[in-house]
């Protein structure tokens, strides 16, 4: 989903920065707040950030014969919400832009928007909705992480299509071309990411369900029924 350095013309790179920076700024504020008020969540914050670090470094081959990478933002979005996750995603994107020539500093705004904001927002609401409709916790996590990953790549396609409308057919024709590259390649990767995130979430529930309960990520009833099922 990285839009390469210099590949977003004026005014698009400014627009995406203008949309992303306020979110990240508020995310920093929220992150400071949570670190001060709830020190017991700090390890989970580190694990969620590290999870993004690991997953976004794995470039995996897909059925389309090209490689892409998962985003890892689903877990942070479920536990800490999109605001804080946007900060963690931006840190990863800066690392990759500066040291790896992956993505770029001029496209950082757009990339933060797709990976750090759009994806996590989708993941967050999918999780809430799935839990409300009574799905199994891990199925909910799977769906949230998978769709967060996929939404990220859809948004990247939209960003590129808006900046490069086709001469004949305009934005929609471009969108089709970019979505062919990103969205289809991403389907198998998103499924794997969903499964791995669900597994990771299971370990966190096993070890620190108390923190998840306090943060209201899961309800006491959900934990009870999971414990009964495993007993």
């Amino acid at each position: 989903m990285h839009i390469m350095e210099g590949f977003l013309p004026h005014p698009w790179w400014e627009i995406w920065f203008a949309l992303s920076l306020p979110v990240v700024a508020y995310g920093v504020y929220r992150m400071n707040q949570i670190i001060k008020e709830r020190r017991d969540t700090l390890p989970l914050l580190a694990v969620s950030g590290a999870f993004i670090f690991v997953l976004s470094s794995l470039k995996m081959p897909s059925v389309t014969g090209s490689c892409s990478h998962p985003t890892g933002t689903g877990m942070g979005a479920i536990i800490f919400g999109p605001w804080i996750t946007s900060v963690m995603a931006m840190i990863v994107l800066i690392y990759q832009a500066v040291f790896l020539a992956h993505g770029g500093l001029t496209t950082l705004g757009a990339n933060t928007f797709s990976m750090g904001i759009a994806g996590p927002v989708v993941g967050y609401f999918v999780y809430k909705l799935a839990m409300k409709s009574g799905l199994n916790l891990y199925v909910a996590v799977f769906l949230a992480a998978m769709l967060a990953d996929w939404a990220t790549y859809i948004v990247t396609s939209i960003q590129l299509a808006l900046a490069f409308p086709a001469a004949s057919g305009g934005v929609l024709t471009s969108l089709e071309a970019f979505a062919t590259v990103f969205a289809i390649t991403q389907v198998p990767l998103a499924i794997v990411e969903g499964a791995v995130t669900a597994l990771m979430f299971k370990y966190i529930v096993q070890l620190r369900s108390d923190v998840l309960l306090r943060m209201k990520v899961v309800s006491p009833g959900t934990i009870e029924s999971l414990k009964e099922a495993s007993a």
């Binding site: 990285h2 390469m4 350095e5 210099g6 590949f7 013309p9 390890p43 989970l44 580190a46 694990v47 950030g49 590290a50 999870f51 993004i52 670090f53 690991v54 470094s57 794995l58 470039k59 995996m60 081959p61 059925v63 014969g65 090209s66 490689c67 892409s68 990863v92 690392y95 500066v98 040291f99 790896l100 020539a101 992956h102 993505g103 770029g104 500093l105 001029t106 990247t156 590129l160 490069f164 086709a166 001469a167 471009s174 071309a177 970019f178 590259v181 990103f182 390649t185 991403q186 198998p188 499924i191 794997v192 499964a195 791995v196 669900a198 597994l199 299971k202 370990y203 070890l207 620190r208």
Partner: protein, 107 residues
């Protein structure tokens, strides 16, 4: 264990799909990010020139893979550390409660 097996199953299918496609078809397995560049040059008739270049580009594929591996290693280290820490913490709490109960029953 069920979730572990399901995840393993999904990963096996994923690898099998890759093995099948890479042995039956000819692909470059390049990055999707780079392919988007090709689409851009098709759409603009090759006129678009990036107006800014990466401030640092890894001098070789080896260095690049080193930095990617470093990224993954840092992340895994943090995850492993805290999950191990939590696990030990849970074990110690269990042991402490067990000892407490034993003390009560002796008294």
């Amino acid at each position: 264990m069920k979730l572990e097996l399901i995840t393993l199953g999904i990963i096996v299918v994923f690898i099998a799909a890759f093995a099948y496609i890479s042995s039956t078809q000819n692909h470059e397995w390049g990055g999707a990010d780079g392919q988007a560049e090709d689409v851009i040059s098709q759409l603009t008739g090759g006129t678009y020139q990036p107006w800014f270049h990466s401030i640092y580009t890894p001098p070789s594929a080896e260095i690049e893979s080193l930095l990617f591996a470093l990224q993954a290693a840092i992340g895994s280290m943090i995850i492993g550390y805290f999950l191990g820490y939590y696990r030990a913490l849970a074990k110690m709490k269990e042991a402490a409660t067990a000892a407490e109960q034993e003390g009560k029953s002796n008294a």
